[in-house]
Amino acid sequence: MPHFVKPAEGSWTEHYAELGTSPVDYSDSTDPAYYELEKDAIFKRTWLQVGRVEQVPRVGSYFTKELDVADTSLIVVRGKDKEVRAFHNMCRHRGNKLVWNDYPGEEVKGTCRVFTCKYHAWRYELDGALQYVQQESEFFDLDKSQYGLKQVRCEIWQGFIFVNLDPGAAPLADYLGEFGKTIEGYPFHEMTEVFTYRAEIKANWKLFIDAFAEFYHAPILHMKQAVKGEADKLAAVGYEALHYDLQNPHGMVSSWGGMSPPKDPGMVKPIERVLRSGLFGPWDKPNVDGLDELPPGVNPVKHPKWGVDSFHFFPNFMLLLWAPGWYLTYNYWPTAVDSHIFESSLYFVPSKTAAERLAHELAAVTFKEYGLQDANTLEATQRMLKARVVSDFPLCDQELLLRALHKTGRDYVKEYLDGSAG
């Protein structure tokens, strides 16, 4: 007997008939050849979220982004005209990586007036134009205007910087579609106190999205994090979402989340009671505009028990908006079929007092405790999937977004193969 209303078809999964209900083939997470296809079919053709405008506050502010999955590195920089642009991080002379320090594979950030190559001192303007060539007269008919940095599509939605390696891709706003439109206006720009976590995960990138795209696991895997009586109750009841929505290729789940603040303080740990904060964020909503009347896409069914909306923007970006007024992002950057870099950032309205900062610290530290449990479970999953003893796995109705993710991935690969065959 569901606690929350399901669609007329009887389940969320059947509501999206194209998904089917049969077990899902997970060879897409172990097959090296399939991973190579994903690079071209997905990561070189879709909009990838690489940062926030706050990371490039001034003219000349830049950061680099390693995209192993697309065999490149990018520079994202704010130009003299205030525009944010992205370029392949490569000197046009002989292909040396243009911006890096000490370790060629590591990301860097900073501020500069021009980019100067370490190798032969070719210099590039912030808009990518080649400005200076060392001993230019030694070259043969070198037209500097033809040797600017290779630009990459770069567009901004609500302060989130996205890039796309496909010059022919539809605009970002079209790609983000209905979800993008209906979240617009959320006060992201007010939430600039950031905690960023990073980890190398020994599992396919989709497995971590799987982990965070369902809350079915929460009462079990994270059982010990709730106080005893509460953990038993949670496990007995299990998990049901308030609402799911798929807007191909993206998906979202809207969830209850009664711990912020909890109905009864006895439900949470002693330190949470004192600091009024925890996994679901600080209990006291910050005083900024835009949180009382939320955009229509946030808490879409306007449920009074609403706690968090979790949006998955295909392929590898998740955005979680929490009822107490903060947000969380996840990015999963594949490095091989069985590994990826996981990045997560928590964004709060900046603490006014030292006490508020302490409440944020508790939320951030709690996130890490959960994240570590999730991360290690993934390695355990990858190890066994690799055996390929079994390839098909049953997914339940609360795992709708996983079913959608794997199908969408396969659809992109199929479309790519069909296109290149023709």
């Binding site: 106190e193 950031v194 905690f195 960023t196 976590y197 990073r198 980890a199 995960i201 010990k224 994090q225 740990k269 002693p270 330190i271 004192v274 600091l275 996981f342 950032s345 900046p350 603490s351 006014k352 007092t353 030292a354 006490a355 508020e356 900062r357 302490l358 944020h360 610290e361 508790l362 951030a364 530290v365 709690t366 890490k368 405790e369 994240g371 570590l372 449990q373 991360a375 290690n376 479970t377 390695e379």
Partner: protein, 133 residues
């Protein structure tokens, strides 16, 4: 690298670069000088606080928790009076950092009964950007 857990009897005369504040001399606000024996927990970054947690025994963390937790409510109330915008005075900053370490040990003490997250094995999750205090 193991972090030497001690009882607050740090003997460094001067703060080594990058290791600021783990000094016995670290001052706390007058109302909270009873926490001075635990000033080795005054650490400026999450990475250092996490490393100290992993390098500590449960007994060491329990001793810190037993003294610091009963003072948390008062400390939190006290810290409400200090805006971050202008930068915190040194004693208040130390108190905040000390209470951040209390947050850090609260999981081993209140939840796990061990320093590490159970079943977290070799997994790590590094905080690479944190708001400056």
């Amino acid at each position: 690298m193991a972090v030497q857990a001690n009882t607050g009897q740090a003997n460094t005369g001067q703060a080594a670069t990058g290791q600021a504040a783990t000094l016995a001399a670290a001052t706390l606000p007058a109302e909270f000088t009873d926490l001075a024996p635990y000033s080795d927990w005054i650490l400026p970054t999450e990475r250092e606080r996490y490393a100290k947690r992993l390098a500590s025994t449960m007994e060491q963390m329990q001793a810190f928790y037993d003294v610091a937790f009963p003072r948390l409510e008062a400390a939190n109330k006290y810290l409400e009076n200090f805006p971050l915008a202008d930068g915190l005075p040194e004693p208040e900053r130390n108190l905040l950092l000390l209470m951040m370490s209390l947050v850090m040990v609260s999981f081993p003490i209140e939840v796990w009964q061990q320093p590490r997250v159970p079943d977290s094995g070799a997994a790590y999750l590094d905080l690479i950007i944190e708001p400056r205090v």
